[in-house]
């Protein structure tokens, strides 16, 4: 007689929504398209690493999607895709920088529903090389009013010298989470570093006393000081348990 398997299922886990928010305005085509090319390469090559990390993370189901913005904004992957099924579709650049529109579209996704009631903090990675051309503030306010956006780990990658770091810092809420990518190598490093936020958020790894600096200057994985992410105070219904 063969032994029966033990009963029960997998360890319960929570969804972790990861968003790539990518500036595809015309300036990303500068330097003969190298900027957008480097970005495509960098994100594509970080996907297997993210999948490998997710495989070893029993606490999270990592779900990824991409939003591009230029003149207007659109979902490259409209529905959340499990990381093991996610493939990077190369983005092309052209148009203006409607960042506010992008914020509004992310906000729509972080509203409950479609967002689930129980999850890990979402991760929003905004990559931009220029200042917004639309009314970004209205979109950002809509976004940051949402409990899930407040709870999100928000990281920005600032490409080149024309990026508006003040706007990016308004988005992240913390200037240290605006990573500087002034050359292709730095862009690759920053994107790699930001991608490890998925693991850091669900916190399965050791918590070192000495955190790696948030400059992305080494290969050290991201060690976010999660305590710097605020606990929503009076503006959340006290009956909610956050």
């Amino acid at each position: 007689m063969t032994e029966l398997k033990r009963p029960g299922g997998e360890l319960a886990s929570r969804p972790l929504h990861f968003f790539w928010l990518v500036d595809c305005s015309g300036s990303m085509n500068e330097e003969h398209g190298e900027k957008i090319g480097t970005l495509n390469h960098a994100i594509q090559s970080t996907i297997p690493d993210m999948a490998a990390a997710a495989r070893e993370n029993p606490n999270a189901q990592l779900l990824v999607r991409t939003l591009k913005f230029a003149t207007g904004a659109s979902w490259v992957t409209p529905a959340p895709v499990p990381i093991e099924d996610f493939a990077w579709d190369d983005l092309t650049a052209g148009g203006v920088t409607d960042m506010g529109k992008a914020f509004e579209m992310v906000a729509a996704q972080l509203t409950i529903p479609p967002m689930s009631e129980r999850a890990l903090p979402p991760v929003l990675v905004l990559i931009s090389d220029g200042g917004p051309t639309d009314d970004y503030r209205r979109g950002l306010e809509t976004l940051l009013r949402l409990p899930w956006a407040k709870k999100a780990v928000r990281i920005a990658v600032s490409i080149g010298r024309d990026a508006n770091d003040d706007v990016l810092a308004e988005f992240t809420g913390n200037r240290e989470l605006v990573l500087q990518a002034n050359n292709p190598q730095a862009l690759v490093r920053c994107i790699k570093w930001a991608s490890t936020a998925a693991s850091a958020v669900s916190a399965p790894a050791s918590k070192p006393k000495l955190a790696a600096p948030a400059s992305g200057s080494t290969n050290a994985p991201l060690v976010l000081d999660m305590k710097s992410i605020p606990e929503p105070a009076g503006d959340v219904d006290a009956a909610d348990v956050w």
Binding site: R6, A12, S206, M226
Partner: protein
């Protein structure tokens, strides 16, 4: 592809022993450094190479101490050689490579590795024994969690890695305070530093995860939390921990639909194991020196391994529960829900082993030495009447069989003694009784 870390393939690292290790492949990165496969004289090993900010003098001193002390037992991927200098003046150490057949605890959690209950007990036993050996050397591990333990699903052998934070119990010198969900409440709240007693908490969490496929503090309080962020983690595992099966506090019971595994598994184990978890996560939450010790776990798990009943109808493994048996209650198969008969037992010291045909006795049963690897006896059928079972002496020593009428008969190595009610066997260190 970013498959290159700090060290390029082909780099030669000269260790303190004088051995030269050639970097073969990048294996991965953690929070403190990167791990490479290296080769020296045809032998392959692993090297952990620290990120510059982690390559501290304190880390080097910890490694030197570990090299001097030597590995507690065969269950550790212990540092074997130190590398200082090298490219960029860095720091690293050599350790054995984890063999390919070993799997991680995450594989267990995601059901990619599916050991039997018997093998699961053996893995848990070997892990607990390893940590016990480490603590016996005055060291603490500091980061008992999913990531740094692996096991061989075929043999139950375990390998404990990431030993470079191991240091003297209570000293605040290692780079790591632990992993969320595994850290003791007094570490989460910042009141204490890692020690042997905080290791005992993490060990209880790891064992609970392995046996129950859930967390001992994740019940209704976890289910009610929408966003599982650092604040929620700190509350659940630090400031307001409540055991999901606390007999005196029902506020954090598991919620069906969210925490089904713990509801399924909790009832399958003997009360004696449940009692150890209750101790760990009620009184043990606030009294670090009242946590369950390795010996208590080993004693219990050895009994569980020795008292599994195979359901004769469906083949499911059912744990014998001595308390249930003492109350005269029937054991019921968790799978087919029918009554399961169980064979006679050998009670030896405080240990019990059920004696179905083919069952093995280990050195631990005869001596209480926690050796569950060395086979000491086996239940065999009497060749002249296969319905009669006996225990074959597989040790090199003589046993003495004491019949119910008091008559004593020697049992030489290779001979077998009948399993009979009220008879006993004197094994030398201990005497076993049949029940």
């Amino acid at each position: 592809m970013n498959m290159e870390g700090m060290l390029k393939t082909g780099t030669v690292l000269t260790a303190q022993s004088g051995s030269a290790y050639r970097v073969c492949a990048y294996l991965g990165a953690g929070t403190q450094g990167e791990v490479y496969e290296v080769e020296c004289g045809g032998k392959h090993s692993a090297v952990k190479w620290y990120f510059p900010q982690m390559a501290t003098r304190t880390q080097r001193e910890i490694l030197e101490n570990l090299l001097m002390k030597g590995s507690p037992n065969e269950s550790f991927l212990w540092p074997e050689d130190l590398i200082t200098g090298g490219p960029g003046g860095g720091l690293g150490y050599v350790m054995p490579l984890r063999p390919k057949e070993f799997r991680g605890i995450v594989d267990l959690m995601k059901r990619r590795a599916e050991p039997s209950f018997a093998m699961l007990c053996r893995i848990a036993f070997n892990l607990t024994k390893g940590y016990g050996m480490l603590h016996a050397k005055g060291l603490s591990y500091r980061d008992i969690s999913f990531g740094n333990v692996s096991f061989n699903p075929a043999t139950g052998a375990v390998l404990i890695g990431d030993n470079d934070n191991v240091s003297a119990s209570g000293r605040d010198d290692a780079a790591v305070y632990g992993t969320p969900r595994f850290m003791a409440p007094e570490i989460v709240t910042g009141r204490e530093k890692p020690s042997r007693n905080t290791d005992l908490y993490s060990l209880a969490v790891l064992l609970f995860y392995m046996f129950m496929l859930g967390h001992p503090l994740e019940g209704k309080l976890e289910a009610d939390i929408r966003c599982m962020d650092i604040h929620a983690l700190n509350r659940l595992f630090g400031t307001h921990p409540v055991f999901i099966f606390d007999p005196n506090d029902t506020s954090n019971r598991p919620v069906e639909g969210y925490q089904d595994n713990v509801l399924i598994f909790w009832e399958l184990y003997p009360q004696s194991l449940r009692d150890l978890f209750i101790q760990s996560f009620t009184v043990g939450l606030t009294a670090p020196n009242k946590r369950v010790t390795e010996k208590q776990w080993l004693y219990e798990i050895a009994n569980m391994m020795s008292c599994l009943i195979t359901c004769p109808r469906c083949g499911a493994e059912v744990f014998f529960d001595a308390e249930k048996a003492a109350r005269g209650e029937t054991h019921v198969c968790w799978s087919c829900r029918r009554a399961v008969p169980y064979p006679p037992s050998l009670i030896c010291g405080g240990d019990r082993a059920l004696l179905p045909l083919g069952a093995k006795l280990y050195s631990h049963h005869l001596t209480g030495n926690y050796d569950m690897d060395t086979v000491a006896g086996e239940v065999v059928a009497n060749p002249s009447d296969p319905r009669l079972l006996g225990i074959r002496n597989l040790t090199g020593d003589n046993w003495t069989y004491i019949r119910a009428d008091g008559r004593q008969i020697p049992v030489a190595p290779g001979r077998s003694a009948a399993i009979a009610k009220d008879a006993k066997i004197n094994f030398g260190a201990r005497t076993g009784e049949f029940r």
